[in-house]
Symmetry: C2
Subunit: 345 residues, 2 copies
DNA sequence: CTGAAAGCGCTTACAG
DNA sequence: CTGAAAGCGCTTACAG
C-alpha cells in the first residue's frame, strides 16, 4: 500500500497541492465546485494527511500533553478519559506523561516532550499543578497550559477546578444536620492543596455551627486505601471515638469502613462515614459511601477546550481560562442520624 | 526562546548536520573526539531533536498505539502504565486510542491513527484483540502489532499472554483441596476469550477430581462489580447454594462478597469466594479476596519490547513474538475450608 | 570517517 | 479564488 500524499490528490483533482490543503483545513476562498471535487478525490483515495508533515511545516503539533503524578489511580483514569474523548472530538491527540517530582531528572522528561513533541498545550493534574518549577517549564517555553484544581491560579496559566471548600462545607453541614458533633476529619497528603481547602471547608462549617473541632480527630492520610485502614485503627481503637468521619477522598473512606467492619462497629448506626470524589471505591462497598461527586472528566474536557480554543492561544492571560465546575453531594448508606452514642466522648 | 536545530549544533561544533545526526542517533563511524565535541555542544545548547522532522524524513514515528476497549478500567490503567514506562525507557511515546466496536465508524479512527500518526506499532488489548476486522486494519497497513491475551495467535501478529486455563485450574484445585464440592463459576462476558479459557480450566479441574459441575451454578457476568452484585443475589438467595464461588475477575468477586455480607453469610466460614486479576478491588475488601495475580503491566511492557525490537520489525512472523508470562495464586482471607454446610445441596 | 545534495509531505508567505 | 516557490528540521542514499 503506497501512501497517498497531497500531491496525489492534487493531481487527480486537477488542482494544486495548496488548494487541497485549503480544502482539508476548511479554509475559505475555494470555489464550492472545486471544493467538492477535491473532497471526492480525498474520499476515493482515502487520503489522510501526514500529521508529521503538517506539524513540521506549521507551528502546531495537534498534540496535547497530560502531565500526571500517578497515572494508575482511578482519578487519573477519569481525567484521562475525559481529556481523550474531547481531544478526539477536536482532532487532537493526547500524550500522557507521568511526572515523578521525587525522582531527580524529571525536568528532563518534561523538557523533552515540550521540545521534541512540540506540544500545543499541557494539562497539569494535581498535585503537581502546584509545583512552581514544573509550571515554569511551560511558561518559559510559552506552552499554553491548564492547571487542574491548583492552589493558586497564575495569570498566564489556565485553570479548571471545583469548589472544594464549599463542597466540604456542605458535607460537614450535612453530618452536623444528622446530629453529629464528634466528627473526625481525615486529611489528604500535605502536597495536595485540594485536601487543604477541604479541611478549611470542614473547619468553617464546624465553626459556623459553633462546634469545637477535636484535634485528636484530625489525622493525615495519603489518599490510599491502606492509609484509611491504618487511620481507622487509630480512630476506632478505644471507646473514645467519633460518631462520624469525613475523609478527604473515597479510597480512604473505604479503608475506614473496612476497619469499622473488622471491629464490628455498625455503619451507619454506630458510625457515619463520608468520602469525597465519587470514585468507584465509594460504590464498591456495603453500605455504599456518601460522598461528593467531583467532575473529574468534565474538568479535563474543559481543559482541552481551553487549550484548543484559538482565542486562549492568542491572548494569554485570558479571562475565560479560569473555570469552576459544579459538584454534588451524593448521599448513600454510610451516613445516618447520630445515635445515642453521640455524646459518648 | 528560539528553538535550537541540528544546524545550530553543527555550526557550533564545526561539523556537518549529518555528523550531528550520527552522534545523536548513536551510529558508528564518528571519531571519538568529534563525538564528544558534538555531545558537548548538544548539552550546552540543550538541543532536542524535533520528533516531527525526524519522523517525516525517516520512516519511523517513534510512536506506539495502545488500542483499548474501555480506557477507564483498572485493567486499562495497569496495562497502560506498564506500556508507558517501557516506552519511556525505549524513547518511544504512547498514544492511547479507545476503540468502541459497537459504535459505527470506529474503523475510521483506527485508520486515521495508523495513517496520519504513522504508528510504528500497536498494542491491542482484550477483548478487541479478538476482532478480526480490527487486526486486519493493522495487517493491511503492515503495522507491527501485538495482541494481549488473544483467543488465537495469528502468525503475523505478536502475542503476549498468561496461562488462563492453567491458572483457573490451579484455583479450582485449591478450592477442591479445601473440601469444596459445590463450586459456582461466574463467567465473564462472551466476547472475552480469556474468560472462556478460565471456564475451561475450571471444568478441567472439576473433571479431574470427578466432581460434576452443577450447571445452575455457572452464570454469566460482564466483569463489572454490579454484575457480581446481581449474580450474588441469584446464587445466594435460597438455602440451595454453593459453598464456594470462583469468579472470572475480582470486580465481580467483590460484588459477590458484598452480597454475601448483605445477606449475613459469613465469608469464608459459610462461603468461599475467589477472584481473578489481583485488582485493587481484591484488596479493598474485608476479608481480602483470594485471586490469581495476572501480570498485566509486565505483559504490556513485553509487548512494547517486541514492537521496538528491530528483529521483530524486520522479520514477521517472528518466533520470539509470542510470549507467555507467569501468574501466581494469591491466597487471602476470602477462601477457607469447607464447613459442615458442604453437603447442604 | 565525513559531508553535500536531495527529499520526506505538508504549510507559509507571497503573487497574480 | 488559485498557484509557484521556499522552507520546516531532520534522514537517506550516495560520494569521497
Amino acid at each position: 500500500m503506497k501512501t497517498v500524499t497531497i500531491k496525489d490528490v492534487a493531481a487527480r483533482a486537477g488542482v494544486s497541492p495548496k488548494t487541497v490543503s485549503r480544502v482539508i483545513n476548511g479554509e475559505d476562498h475555494v470555489r464550492a465546485e472545486i471544493r467538492e471535487a477535491v473532497q471526492r478525490v480525498v474520499a476515493e483515495l482515502d487520503y489522510r494527511p501526514n500529521a508529521f508533515a503538517r506539524s513540521l511545516s506549521s507551528s502546531r503539533s495537534y498534540l496535547l500533553g497530560l502531565f500526571i503524578d500517578d497515572p494508575v489511580s482511578g482519578y487519573a483514569a477519569d481525567v484521562q478519559h475525559g481529556a481523550l474523548i474531547r481531544c478526539r472530538e477536536r482532532s487532537y491527540h493526547l500524550v500522557v506523561e507521568p511526572v515523578d517530582l521525587s525522582r531527580p531528572g524529571w525536568q528532563d522528561h518534561v523538557r523533552d516532550s515540550i521540545a521534541s513533541l512540540r506540544l500545543d498545550g499541557a494539562i497539569i493534574a494535581p498535585p503537581i499543578c502546584d509545583a512552581p518549577e514544573l509550571i515554569d517549564l511551560f511558561r518559559q517555553s510559552a506552552v499554553p497550559h491548564v492547571l487542574m484544581a491548583p492552589s493558586v491560579e497564575p495569570e498566564d496559566s489556565g485553570a479548571v477546578r471545583m469548589d472544594d471548600h464549599g463542597a466540604a462545607r456542605e458535607m460537614t453541614d450535612y453530618l452536623i444536620c444528622l446530629g453529629h458533633r464528634h466528627i473526625a476529619f481525615v486529611q489528604g497528603p500535605e502536597n495536595h492543596s485540594a485536601s487543604i481547602r477541604r479541611e478549611e471547608g470542614f473547619r468553617a462549617a464546624m465553626a459556623t455551627a459553633a462546634i469545637a473541632v477535636d484535634e485528636r480527630f484530625v489525622l493525615r492520610g495519603d489518599f490510599s486505601f491502606r492509609s484509611g485502614l491504618e487511620l481507622g485503627e487509630a480512630l476506632l481503637r478505644g471507646p473514645d471515638r467519633p460518631s462520624a468521619i469525613f475523609a478527604c477522598n473515597d479510597d480512604m473512606a473505604l479503608g475506614l469502613l473496612i476497619t469499622a467492619i473488622k471491629r464490628d462497629i455498625q455503619v451507619p448506626d454506630d458510625l457515619s462515614i463520608a468520602g469525597f470524589d465519587d470514585a468507584a471505591s465509594s460504590r464498591a462497598a456495603w453500605p455504599q459511601i456518601t460522598t461528593i461527586r467531583q467532575p473529574k472528566a468534565e474538568m479535563a474536557a474543559a481543559a482541552v477546550d481551553i487549550l484548543v480554543d484559538p482565542s486562549f492561544r492568542r491572548t494569554i492571560p485570558h479571562p475565560d481560562a479560569h473555570l469552576m465546575l459544579p459538584h454534588a453531594l451524593v448521599v448513600r448508606g454510610s451516613t445516618g442520624r447520630c445515635g445515642t452514642d453521640a455524646d459518648r466522648v
